[in-house]
Symmetry: C2
Subunit: 335 residues, 2 copies
């Protein structure tokens, strides 16, 4: 790789002149600037990023720690982060916790040595269950900016991007109620996550406010290690009076639709279904799943923007923001 020093030698001028010329310093004469830039192009000179980072004490790189990249939601958030990062001249280092606290901790540890300027993360399942947060605290203590999205740690003060899970679930359930549904089930494979609990609460409250039904037998909790089809099929067999389903996670909605139809029920006539997901997932069921759209890409973009804002005013003591992204209901064929 060509360096400034080498370039300077070729041009018979000093390295500092070359550097200034490349940066359009007013100290340098126009002819020299021109000469230097031409030579730079010819020799395909590129400023060494690492040297720049060392000098400026900033890497223009963000660490992103995701619980599960196979989850469509996180993939889409990553898409949003990457897009916004590119536009702002940042790179992203991606780490996957795979829901484990140890991996999450290691990733934070490993990258907090000057590798990145800040972090964006969503809390791993294991961490949410154990409520561990020392590793997050440690990042804060090192004064490294941190943005959490979706699954956030309540006892850590930092910038956060979330949706109103309670309200979204409430509204989705109400949506089914308004369609005349009397026995609305909740299916969830995320009931040990913060967002899962909020969605459960929202569902319960909506039923409580508008119907005289006990939700006890209407709630199905699926473990992600189990076969969802079997679990949901058994559930539907056992509760034949169900006429509405609110799926609190990404995938149960389409599974529920496909299964219902294979059991001879028609959707949405016999069973109406709505779930948290987006358009591409909705396509996996016939009829297409109506969804609560979290605008995952938007969450990604906003997370990055919030982080950048924080990076630019690193010393200013500015109150941490929690931004709530509004969800929308995308009505399709299943309701």
């Amino acid at each position: 790789m060509m360096t400034i020093k080498e370039l300077a030698k070729k041009l018979n001028i000093s390295p500092s002149t070359v550097s200034k010329a490349l940066n359009d310093s007013p100290e340098i004469s126009l002819p020299t600037i021109k000469r230097v830039k031409e030579a730079a192009k010819i020799y395909n000179y590129k400023p060494n990023k690492v040297a720049l980072s060392l000098k400026s004490n900033s890497t223009k790189t963000i660490g992103v720690i995701l619980p599960d990249i196979l989850n469509h939601f996180f993939a889409k958030v990553l898409l949003g982060i990457e897009k916004e990062a590119t536009e702002n001249g940042y790179n992203i280092i991606t780490c996957l916790s795979n829901e484990f606290t140890s991996k999450e901790k290691d990733s934070l540890e490993l990258l907090s040595n000057g590798s990145v300027d800040g972090f964006i993360l969503s809390v791993a399942e294991e961490t949410q269950v154990s409520k561990e947060s020392a590793h997050f605290k440690s990042i804060k203590d090192q004064n490294i900016p941190l943005v959490m999205f979706d699954r956030v740690a309540n006892d850590i003060e930092c910038d956060k991007i979330i949706i109103d899970d309670f309200k979204a679930a409430y509204d989705a359930t109400k949506f089914l109620i308004d369609k005349g549904r009397k026995q609305i089930a909740l299916i969830s494979n995320i009931d040990n996550l913060s967002v899962g609990k909020l969605r459960l609460d929202g569902y319960k409250k909506a039923i409580e406010d508008h119907q005289e039904v006990s939700t006890e037998t209407l709630i199905l909790s699926v473990d992600r290690s189990e076969d969802p089809q079997k679990k949901i099929a058994d559930f539907l067999d056992k509760h034949k009076n169900i006429d509405g389903i609110f799926a609190a996670d990404n995938t149960s909605g389409v599974v529920a639709i496909n299964l219902s139809r294979s059991k001879g029920k028609s959707v949405p006539e016999d069973i109406s279904v709505i779930g948290f997901a987006d358009a591409s997932i909705a396509n996996y069921s016939t009829p297409k799943l109506s969804t609560i759209n979290q605008h995952a890409d938007e969450i990604g973009r906003m997370s990055l923007n919030l982080l950048i804002k924080r990076l630019h005013n690193k010393d200013e003591i500015k109150k941490y923001e929690t931004t709530v992204i509004p969800v929308t209901i995308d009505q399709r064929e299943s309701t």
Copy 2:
């Protein structure tokens, strides 16, 4: 952040002694080593990654450029890459070309300034169509190691990890033939990709070898911008004699199953379906899709390993390897 210099001052010894002590140099006495390490722990000293990179002229970071992170296959490859990278002490910078040549080019350009030690990539759709390859060539000219997987550029010599798409498609089609299927359709939304073409060829050859059917009317090409459900539904309506479907892409298989059943056909009795996908996608259809498993995570792991091998013998002129990962057929309920 604590530096060696500061640490040295606290201990009243020279920075070089501290550096050597931290690295267990035999030049340093054991008591000193102990003293230094204890101080390092107390002050939470971490070697600055950027300085290390500058010194060693290597970042221990890999650039990964993916065409589409919402595609489950690429997400899973990323999972494999990340896992293997972590085990080998590498970080990954993720860039998403979103199928565009310009973004792919920019990402390569932007990262080839010392940001990464090498690249892993799968070629963007637009690039495969236009057959552009100057930007890949440029990376080679700069002597930056490059591994391509799945969608590879034939006119670029580099390490490659692929599957035998022709054979996989041939075998999958043959699999349906052996089940007694007479009118086997191909559905694909990737016919302008290298792998899509190979799969089409494999399908055609299998039919040609074993049946006296013209495949002309049995091939459905879906544009990814269209509504796949509508397109596939129309196709099935038009060709009611179809009794087998080979889905050459990730998603059409499950859509085809769900649609077939909604049209009153039973799967696999009336229509038998197999597709390129993996277990989690297979779950989106009832009955569950039988799949050709590409072992995407394995592809990711091997890509990274190949790259690391190349990095470790950067000067050695070693012939480029093309590794073919064997696929397997995961028989489920749809065949």
